[in-house]
Symmetry: C2
């Protein structure tokens, strides 16, 4: 706009990863038109292309939750302060991050309202009324909602003051059943991470210092970013009876005695989209696995909109691909081919078909893969459509394999402090012995920025010495720097 | 729970409509387990059964929006006060209802943040940066989100401080295109109201007094509740250039001149679920049209869970119905049959199948329709499944026809003030002449509580005299009391 230079969109080059990894990430988000900063600090605007990736993720997760008997519901955005204060560890964990409504309807409120930083307290207040007897159990509820946690160092998708997520909350008769449910939901997250988002993850238990405020155990799956840092992809909490006692979530058991419920909560947020971007993208821009790609195949026509023959052929190809359930888009804009190619590359569309008069004369099309840049001339035959469907699967697999190979390369086993410090500095997931003491964990963090990411579910019994204190340890835990 | 009488769920009788319509509505919501009041006044908890109806509605609407080229996105919950203040009429309309965050992250904020009462201001601030030239138009964005408007007289679904909705926002090159879009989206709402929710609606233009704060024209569809009151089902606004001028949503046109965009916004909220409940339900409880019913067929077994033969047969029927895409549930709980029947009646399940040993011996099942209570013995043959599918369609149609007949009965044409007052008192949609003056509209409202619901799109030219002032009028408008 002539008088609005502020708003002018400047074509920005993407900073190479090797030069500045953080800037590269922001450049990719910007170049692919995924999201942007909002006028309120720390909040983000998720643009249609970015939101579409979230929508696909939601749809798949939601179905998997429902298959295990979970129902969706909706609880209020506002939590009265007195409810938040009921579970001591919980309120201590969250109070530095909360936003508070003090005025509404033109008046000062008698009791301030907290904008939900998570919904344990507001939900369990209801659960205590919903549950009378063991016959009312299990309660299996999920909610898709927005969450507010005041963020000091915001970053699009990865850490935002407001984010979108789902939070599941369950109540069970026994500890065993609750623990099983917490692990079952983590397994769904693992499945979605690996088979849908093509992100290899490791699962385990959080240390006491890193667990959720108010949980008995926090189970986590962690993904490795291309700078070797860990991203907590999703967590599932065995809450024990901490909240059920605070909120009187109790029931009459089969013998008619009052018992407190055993609870879980579990969540995945738009932060996972940040992990997706950082796992696969490259110096040319975004790379999205086919299963989540808003557009799976783009047909870029060469030669302008007047070129009837090319446009018609493009529509024919589009029709066939849509019949095969491939999300397809034709870009027939009157731009230079290079410009169009570049745009879809930045947006990470898995397959690009280039179609011009020359191709039509040869009854072929040029196919370009986004994951490895391979270019191939393909005949316009029935096989093309089948080939594209298998190629999308191959690309999905290739992205996973590539990320897995990288993760293996950046996973180190060390036994001395010196090796530990170097391995962390170099950006690795480091398997090391630790004595299990909170203070030692804190000291390691302050010296190296590394935290215990998880204690593996399948931790091998192995005698060793804590890399920091030399005290005995019976198994390795995984350290890394984290987002 | 033994020590928690507060939480005890008391089986409550449903108050008959004739006795107390408002209480009847709340009783139905409660008996069907749709929603309940939250600890924060005016907020609601949407329980799984109620949320499922909303989910079905969302899914259908979302698909229809997308078919017209609309994409989903997400904008922040918080709006800086300075943005809200940019459009004068808009801020005046909303300021009495807003909730304000003044403290966050342990500090007082420099600028208070408004919890979104609608998102025109936060979105158009972005649109002004997104749009440079006519090539960037149209912008067609939708958002599913929560909204906060401080509510003085809250009522589950119908008026709540926080509610869920979708809000669509578009920008166009010309006034004509924007107006067409606003009407197109209203037409989608009409279609969903009538063909999915089985609610007959009337469409038209809002009067100046009733239009959206900041709009040029508001288009509305209104439904009639069983007490003859109107419920605004959904609205679509032609915003003209009011916001585009305030937010500099401008573009360079085909001649290279700066022009302001022509905008629309349109929304449907969980309030529509309130309308759904009030349109179809009866003194026995909820009635839900089959297309939105969380459960379309319930199979209630007679004789307890040990009765293997009955349970097996129930599963067989369930399997066949699920194959026919019928949402089916088996209730095999060991309760008295009457108790089970009553529960599913209250929940408005369209078809109930009663199955016991006696039925199996006769190779039949008892089928009961929720809409009219008809009971029929049906042979357990292949035809049963086909019949059920057609019967669901018939029930859907019957609910619509019944609501339409009621609406016709309660629609009156009057020409004198005396008749007008009586027709409004009796709970009618009243077609009457009005001089078009705002002050007269306000006076009519203060005397009768009736407002101009809409000026029909297909208003007939007809000379007449204003029922209040006797001044000339060229067509009738529709008055009613409203929710």
């Amino acid at each position: 706009m002539s008088d609005n230079t502020n708003g002018k969109i400047v074509e920005k080059k993407i900073t190479p990863r090797s030069e500045d990894y953080s800037q590269w990430y922001l450049d990719v988000v910007n170049a692919a038109d995924l999201a942007e900063n909002a006028p309120v600090r720390g909040c983000m605007i998720i643009k249609p292309y970015g939101y579409s990736i979230w929508e696909h993720t939601k749809k798949i997760l939601d179905q998997k939750f429902k298959e295990t008997g979970v129902s969706n519901a909706y609880f209020p955005l506002f939590i009265p302060e007195r409810l938040l204060n009921k579970e001591k560890e919980h309120v201590e964990g969250f109070s530095p991050e909360i936003a508070v409504v003090t005025h509404a309807g033109g008046k000062k409120l008698e009791e301030p309202l907290v904008v939900r930083p998570t919904s344990e307290t507001i939900m369990y207040d209801s659960f205590s009324k919903w549950i009378q007897s063991y016959r009312d159990l299990p309660i299996l509820i999920n909610q898709w909602s927005n969450i507010v946690r005041w963020e000091m160092r915001p970053r699009l998708f990865l850490r935002t003051t407001e984010f979108l997520w789902q939070e599941g909350h369950t109540v069970h008769e026994t500890h065993e059943e609750a623990d099983e449910r917490a692990r079952q939901m983590l397994e769904i997250y693992r499945d979605v991470a690996e088979s849908v988002m093509a992100i290899p993850v490791f699962g385990g238990v959080k240390s006491e210092a890193e667990k959720f405020a108010g949980a008995l155990h926090t189970y986590t799956i962690e993904a490795m970013m291309q700078d070797g840092k860990a991203l907590q992809f999703a967590t599932s909490h065995n809450l024990g009876q901490n909240f059920s006692k605070a909120f009187d979530v109790s029931f009459l058991d089969r013998e008619g005695d009052k018992k407190y419920g055993w609870q879980t909560s579990w969540g995945l947020s738009t932060r996972a989209i940040g992990g997706l971007i950082m796992t696969h993208s490259d110096d040319k821009g975004l790379v999205v696995p086919p299963k989540l790609a808003p557009v799976q195949v783009v047909i870029t026509t060469i030669g302008g909109e007047d070129n009837k023959e090319v446009i018609e052929k493009a529509h024919e190809i589009e029709k066939r691909l849509k019949e095969a359930d491939v999300r397809t888009l034709i870009d027939k804009r009157d731009l230079r081919p290079g410009e169009k190619f570049y745009e879809w590359e930045k947006k990470g569309v898995p397959i690009r078909l280039e179609l011009g008069m020359k191709d039509i004369a040869e009854d072929s099309v040029v196919l370009v893969r986004r994951d490895n840049g391979e270019k191939e001339k393909k005949p316009l035959s029935n096989d093309l459509y089948k080939d594209i469907v298998s190629l999308l699967e191959e690309i999905q697999k290739n992205l996973y394999d590539r990320a897995l190979a990288y993760k293996k390369e950046k996973t180190k086993f060390v036994d001395t402090w010196k090796d530990f410090v170097r391995a962390i500095e170099d950006g690795n997931f480091v398997h090391a012995h630790w004595c299990g003491e909170k203070e030692v964990e804190a000291q390691i963090k302050s010296e190296t920025k590394a935290t215990v990411r998880y204690i593996p579910f399948d931790q091998k019994e192995e005698e060793g010495k804590c890399i920091k204190t030399g005290k005995p340890s019976s198994g390795r835990v995984i350290f890394a720097k984290a987002y």
